[in-house]
């Protein structure tokens, strides 16, 4: 400051030139503006709600819902309360998300790797798929699958049989499935558990082999035992029921996937996979050329090079953007509402229409999707940590 401490202690000009003052002033102004806006909006909201006689409250969630839902994982009757109806919607959303993520990862990775194929046809098809699907709105694709593809399947009387163990008609798709819901969950849990255990055993084995050059036999045996146990559980323990077609049309046994679910799943998987394919492609391209050449010079076959050398390194570039693709998929499941699949958003809309409580329903919706996305991020971050370079 130019002035001495004995003179005026407050110099407006100096203060206006001081960046520290502006930093604080700017924050204070921002805060005031935001608070003013918020209080204006919330004040209006409060007044409007009071005028409609609907003060903000979640009590309505305990009232009976009174509408029926076409498909649900949990038991639900129309006179169950709203919160239970919303749980049904959440369950349906989760089945869509789980199926979507599994199939998208598979198809997207294949399509992404296919763009590196030496086979001209495979390469072009992969590019064509990405270029076509990414530039057409998802909702349009959803309608296309639902009305123009699955809607034109034959009626139950003339249903299509796939090798006699799966059936297709315009009401849905019938596939072999575990005898009961508990067994199905058990099978899925066993599969996931076995996969994680196998991954750890494999890493352990590799580590031992790298450090000592020999050994790792015990781990190999453990892997084989794990595989046999898993196969035993899945094949024998699941009490599989195979759908069988009836003379008069229709199907008994097995699991019926409704036309809405199948259409939503197909559209979501095809759309999201195109984006995943691009992520995978970018990831593989990011691996330096030297890695490829070094692996080839060791005499490894191109397929092995991709699997053992290039793809593991590409993963560290691939996984972070995959996280946001999975979140997009999760949020896009809300479009299934447009073809009347009773997922979270669809149930929430019905709830809003019946109770006239937009604000509360919106809060519930927002919280649900935020929590779902948060869970996905948690898992993906965990996965990300395991594939990052461990530098010594």
């Amino acid at each position: 400051m130019a002035h001495d401490s004995g003179g005026r202690s407050f110099d407006l000009k100096a203060m206006l030139r001081d960046e520290r003052f502006w930093k604080i002033a700017f924050q204070v102004i921002t805060l005031i503006v935001v608070i003013a806006l918020l209080s204006f909006f919330l004040g209006n909201l409060n007044r409007n709600l009071l005028q409609q006689g609907r003060a903000f409250s979640f009590n309505f969630l305990r009232n009976p819902a009174g509408f029926s839902i076409g498909e649900s994982l949990i038991r639900y009757r129309p006179n169950d309360p709203y919160w239970r109806a919303l749980m049904v919607g959440l369950g349906n959303t989760i089945t869509l998300v789980a199926g979507g993520i599994a199939l998208t990862t598979l198809l997207g990775t294949v399509a992404g790797i296919a763009s590196f194929s030496k086979n001209w046809l495979v390469h072009k098809l992969s590019r064509l798929y990405v270029g076509l699907v990414r530039n057409i709105p998802l909702l349009l694709q959803l309608f296309f699958w639902y009305f123009a593809i699955y809607g034109t399947l034959p009626r139950p009387v003339d249903q299509i049989s796939v090798l006699g163990i799966a059936f297709l008609n315009n009401r849905g798709v019938y596939i072999p499935w575990a005898g009961s819901a508990v067994l199905a969950l058990l099978g899925i849990a066993a599969t996931i558990g076995a996969a994680i255990a196998a991954l750890y055993l494999w890493q352990w084995r590799t580590k031992i082999r790298i450090e000592t050059g020999v050994g790792g036999k015990a781990q190999s045996i453990a892997l084989a035992v794990l595989g046999v146990v898993w196969l035993g559980i899945v094949v024998l323990g699941m009490n599989w029921t195979i759908p069988s077609g009836l003379e008069a049309g229709g199907v008994t046994g097995g699991l019926r996937l409704s036309r809405e679910y199948v259409a939503a799943l197909t559209a979501l998987v095809f759309y999201t996979s195109a984006f995943v394919a691009e992520i995978v492609r970018a990831g593989i391209q990011s691996v330096s050329k030297g890695q490829w050449e070094a692996a080839r010079s060791l005499g490894l076959h191109a397929g092995i090079v991709m699997r053992l050398v290039v793809f593991p390194q590409a993963l560290r570039v691939i996984i972070p953007p995959m996280n946001s693709e999975y979140m997009n998929l999760t949020k896009n499941t809300s479009l299934a509402f447009a073809i009347a699949f009773p997922e979270m958003y669809s149930i929430a809309t019905t709830t809003y229409n019946q109770t006239g409580r937009p604000v509360e329903v919106f809060v519930v919706l927002m919280a649900t999707y935020l929590i779902l996305c948060l869970l996905i991020t948690l898992v993906m971050n965990q996965l990300n940590r395991t594939v990052q370079f461990k530098e010594r």
Binding site: E19, Q27, T30, L45, V122, F144, W292
Partner: protein
């Protein structure tokens, strides 16, 4: 996929041109697995394409498209006011041609062989393709207008190199002219927004959304990168909350809740409410794209600007933002493309944009079950617009590329 080699990794292309047999042997039948793959794929897709062609030529009833072409383009817009839409199209075509000419003024031949072929294909398509027949006589002059304006723009651009900024201003003003022409007022008959529809509404909401979300997204990105904790926290909260919710929920609640948030009695128009929700949503995503661009600008740029004595706003405006935006162009255009696609969700909240019109036509008993025809037609329209945008972004990227 046995032989998977990234194409950028392969050796430089052979100079010797391969004969068709050698080419097929190298690219399709290099080993037993590739041969098998080729044969299986050819069988599957050959069958699929055959079935599709068979369906398109025999079973499909394409009449639904030409019969409703006016609806697809403008919704229930009064037919006697169509000249206003045509005038709007003429303005857009003229400006597009001018911009093309001015941007391409340094290319030796503006109408290169490829461009001429493209124009020829467009003209042939307009004349031959049945849906456009009623209006094809008006569409041909539009193509001529684009070409003529491009030629004129090139001369103009060479004479006055500074005309680019004037063009941006013209585009900006054309938006208000469009609003005036579509909606009426100021001497023109008013058209209720309930009659806005089809492609015109899709384009209008998309452009409005883009125009509104860009500045907001920019501010949010700067806010999130700011050194001031209050600003940073507010921006982060906004971005994360909005990105956590599906757009359709925001749109629907926007229709319901925006009136609740405003003083009693004020009720913005349905289309305006949709545009606001769309812009608020896209801004959060755009902010993240711009943030990535900001992060990619080296810190040295900031320090260099500071050492020249520039203050924070000038550093941002003159040094950092131009570089950040240049880096973020592909992501930003990607966001614009997805905003354009997201306009389809307006059909869910009851607006008759392109997809909404498609659905209402399909609800007409006359066109029962014509799903595949209508949706394929719409898919082609959306594809063309999105592809054109991504193509333009690639060109822009090349033009702004300063790496040597």
């Amino acid at each position: 996929m046995t032989s998977v080699t990234p194409d950028s990794f392969s050796a430089p292309p052979d100079i010797v041109a391969l004969g068709p047999v050698a080419w097929a042997k190298k690219n399709l039948f290099s080993d037993w697995f590739n041969s098998l793959l080729t044969i299986v794929l050819v069988l599957i897709f050959g069958w699929g394409i055959f079935r599709l062609g068979f369906w398109a030529l025999t079973t499909a009833q394409w009449q639904v498209i030409p019969n409703n072409f006016g609806l697809f383009m403008t919704g229930t817009y009064p037919a006697r006011l169509y000249p206003r839409i045509w005038a709007l199209l003429a303005i857009v075509c003229g400006l597009a041609g001018l911009s093309w000419g001015v941007l391409g003024r340094n290319i030796s031949t503006l109408f290169s062989r490829n461009v001429l072929i493209g124009l020829g294909v467009v003209c042939a398509f307009i004349v031959l393709f049945p849906p456009t027949r009623p209006s094809s006589l008006k569409l041909l002059p539009m193509v001529a207008l684009v070409a003529g304006a491009a030629a004129g723009g090139r001369q103009l651009g060479r004479r006055f190199p500074g005309i680019g900024s004037l063009l941006s201003l013209a585009w900006f003003l054309s938006y208000f002219v469009a609003l005036w022409l579509i909606g009426g007022g100021l001497g023109l008959t008013r058209v209720s927004t309930n009659d806005w529809g089809g492609l015109v509404l899709t384009l209008f909401t998309a452009v409005s959304g883009i125009v509104l979300c860009f500045p907001l997204g920019l501010l949010l990105a700067l806010g999130r990168r700011s050194a001031l904790p209050v600003v940073r926290w507010l921006s982060t909260i906004y971005i994360e909350l909005v990105r956590g919710v599906p757009l359709v929920a925001l749109l629907f609640m926007g229709q319901v809740m925006i009136p609740l948030f405003l003083p009693l009695g004020s009720r913005p128009d349905r289309i305006l409410r949709a545009i606001i929700a769309l812009a608020l949503f896209s801004a959060a995503y755009l902010a993240e794209n711009v943030r990535a661009g900001l992060q990619a600008v080296p810190r040295g740029q900031n320090e260099a600007a500071a050492s020249l004595g520039l203050n924070t706003p000038t550093t941002l405006g003159l040094i950092v933002l131009p570089q950040a935006l240049k880096i973020a162009i592909p992501a930003i255009v990607g966001q614009f493309i997805s905003l354009f696609q997201d306009t389809t969700l307006l059909s869910i909240v009851g607006l008759a944009e392109l997809l909404g019109i498609g659905r209402s036509i399909l609800a007409n008993p006359t066109y029962l079950g014509r799903y595949a025809e209508v949706y394929l037609f719409l898919a082609v329209i959306y594809w063309l617009f999105c592809y054109a945008m991504s193509l333009a972004s690639r060109k822009l990227e090349e033009k702004l590329n300063t790496d040597h």
